[in-house]
């Protein structure tokens, strides 16, 4: 006999079965937007530790405070270790500068410049919104250990970006990133990032550890740990200027 409980169960079953179909209609950009909405700090700050590991060598850790405005203005300040303290990076649109306290000047840099000798490039930290620079395509789905993942391919729209292509694995259930592959113009795989340690950070549940492994030098890796994050804090424009970068404001 068909009763109310059976009816609700049927409705629920139908609803659940619709979910993959609904997501399958999503474009690559829409999926990327959802991921970036979780991961990206449009206005706010985050504090990270960046640990560079080399086989058989002592790890070295740098701490960096990063401030973001409008997802387009970024100021990053080194807090530790002592010989790097005071160095800073500024990004305004496609333009980036590095401040060297010993020289008391900021110089233009390219986004491909390595940060503090790590496997992380300046653009990896300073570029906030990937969809501005890359065309995103959903290339398929993969099932890994029972979890469904979207596989996205990001192809550079501009010459100013440092990677010609990225491949992203994003978990279908919650749009959290799982893995990224970074490719050079030649098609060579440069490095791979794996995301883990999903926790609440500043009120958002997201991966708090990103491990970047060099494909050019096996065994070399840099681990970025997100220690703190604050979202929806609007900083003044005056904070994202070369004057602020050079005079420690």
């Amino acid at each position: 006999m068909f009763n109310k409980r059976m009816a609700w169960g049927l409705i629920l079953l139908l609803g659940l079965s619709m979910i993959p179909l609904v997501h399958a209609d999503m474009s690559g950009e829409e999926i990327m937007d959802k991921t970036e909405a979780i991961m990206r700090v449009n206005d706010g700050r985050y504090l990270i530790d960046m640990t560079t590991s080399r086989p058989g060598k002592e790890d070295r850790t740098s701490r960096m405070q990063v401030y973001v405005k409008d997802a387009d203005k970024v100021l990053a300040r080194m807090l530790a270790p002592v010989q790097e303290k005071g160095q800073g990076y500024l990004k305004l649109g496609d333009d980036e500068w590095l401040y060297l306290p010993n020289a008391n000047k900021s110089i233009r840099i390219s986004g491909s410049q390595s940060m503090q000798g790590s496997d992380i490039q300046a653009d990896d930290v300073l570029k906030v919104k990937l969809t501005d620079d890359y065309a995103v395509t959903l290339t398929g789905m993969e099932n890994i250990s029972g979890q469904n993942y979207y596989v996205l391919e990001l192809n550079a729209k501009k010459n100013s970006v440092i990677y010609s292509k990225l491949r992203y694995w994003i978990k279908q259930a919650d749009f959290l990133p799982a893995k990224t592959e970074y490719y050079a113009l030649s098609g060579k795989l440069l490095k791979t990032a794996v995301y883990s340690q999903i926790k609440s950070l500043g009120g958002r549940t997201r991966p708090t550890v990103m491990e970047v492994s060099s494909e050019l030098r096996k065994g070399n890796k840099t681990t970025v740990v997100f220690l703190e994050a604050e979202y929806n804090v609007v900083y003044p424009d005056s904070m994202f200027t070369r004057m602020a970068l050079e005079k420690g404001k």
């Binding site: 005071g86 010993n102 008391n104 110089i107 233009r108 491909s112 410049q113 003044p236 420690g248 404001k249």
Partner: protein, 387 residues
């Protein structure tokens, strides 16, 4: 100005501002020790540099700095050239006053570093000259008041600099704006009978950074040696005669932590071949060494760009093998053909320390700028520690 520095130093050392709300004094420093063997004079000197930096922080932002530098060299070598064997200098001592979110006033002894160039900065009218043999060698800052304000994509900086006496002042102004993918700056200065103006432009395109600076100056008192009827004399160039110097450079980053830099410098007021020859003959007499040493200390811009055209090249690769970073720097005096070649290796000892090995090789005839260097090839090894 020295009294000002003393007061500021005392304030920071006693931590007086720490009693004010949200203010603190941070201490950091670096120690560098190592020998240099001079093959020409066949002697070894040991240099020590100790830098102590006191930072006044207010509300977690830096608002003042005192940088003390102690330098020692032992044993005595070419003593009449050197800057002294035990010197304690206040390299920097300034306070930042935030007038508004867009304007900052910095007063005191400070490092002023205008211009995009690495090896040369023609538009850095007030900045201390670089030691091109060792660009990490700190020079004292200048006593000045620096006002900077930002508006939109632009900024305006005005510097008023004191030079020795209370009546000897210089003024400079710089306007910087973002133009397309580049930074464009116009600047000018005046100090006593010297004056000048110039521009500076830099941009990054992909993996390349390109920059250029050009300055026109007059009355800056460049000296040269002239032969006056068999007597060698130091003379200053005519005060009103204007000359141009400029730099153009490019650097590129490559995958795997490689960086290459190339910079071309020209200087209309540089010495010509005849003046260089007179200078070499002047140095043949050791009795002139003390006088030249004093002029170097007083005039500052005597060396490093003696001639008219130079080319500078740097290649650097970090992590060439584990904790090693290798670099090679070449300075080519295009006029006389002499070269200064500096291969370097840095080894990371720990999180805050490193060892550096460096050779300064000089090539060229006796009358060339680099071939005439009396130290001969220099071999340096040093350990540095940050704390």
């Amino acid at each position: 100005m020295r009294l000002w520095i003393f007061i500021l130093s005392a304030v920071l050392l006693t931590g007086f501002p720490a009693s004010c709300s949200a203010a603190s004094v941070g201490v950091s420093g670096n120690l560098e020790v190592g020998p240099t063997y001079n093959s020409g004079s066949q002697d070894t000197i040991v240099e020590s540099h100790l830098g102590i930096k006191l930072e006044l922080n207010q509300d977690e932002k830096q608002s003042g700095v005192v940088l003390l530098q102690y330098k020692a060299k032992t044993p005595e070598s070419l003593g009449d050239w050197e800057d002294g064997y035990n010197t304690l200098t206040v390299n920097q001592a300034y306070l930042d006053i935030t007038l508004s979110p867009e304007s900052i006033l910095r007063a005191g002894r400070q490092k002023i570093a205008w211009g995009s160039g690495l090896a040369w900065n023609p538009t850095n009218y007030f900045g201390a000259d670089k030691n091109r043999a060792d660009m990490t060698n700190e020079f004292p800052g200048v006593d000045a008041v620096d006002f900077e304000t930002v508006f939109g994509q632009s900024s305006l900086t005005v510097v008023v600099k004191q030079d020795g006496s209370l009546t000897d002042w210089g003024e400079g102004v710089k306007y910087v704006t973002r133009l397309g993918r580049g930074d464009l700056a116009f600047s000018a200065f005046r100090q006593g009978s010297a004056n000048g103006f110039g521009f500076d432009w830099a941009t990054s395109l992909g993996d390349y950074t390109i920059y250029t600076e050009l300055a026109s100056k007059a009355g800056t008192g460049r000296f040269y040696v002239t032969d006056s009827g068999g007597e060698l004399l130091w003379v200053a160039r005519p005060a009103g005669k204007r000359f141009i110097n400029g730099v153009i450079g490019i650097n590129r980053t490559f995958p795997d932590n490689v960086m290459v830099q190339l910079e071309y410098y020209f200087n209309e007021a540089g010495w010509d071949a005849g003046e260089a020859d007179h200078y070499a003959r002047y140095l043949d007499d050791p009795a002139h060494h003390a006088e030249v040493g004093d002029l170097m200390k007083e005039k500052g811009d005597l060396f490093g760009d003696l001639r008219k055209k130079y080319l500078y090249f740097l290649i650097r690769k970090a992590e060439i093998a584990d904790d090693w970073t290798m670099a090679c720097r070449v300075m080519w005096n295009i006029d006389d053909g002499g070269l200064m070649i500096t291969p370097m290796a840095e080894y990371r000892l720990g999180q805050s320390s490193q060892a550096t090995f460096m050779i300064n090789l000089f090539t060229g005839g006796k009358t060339t700028e680099f071939g005439g260097v009396l130290t001969g090839t220099q071999y340096t090894a040093k350990v540095s520690l940050s704390f």
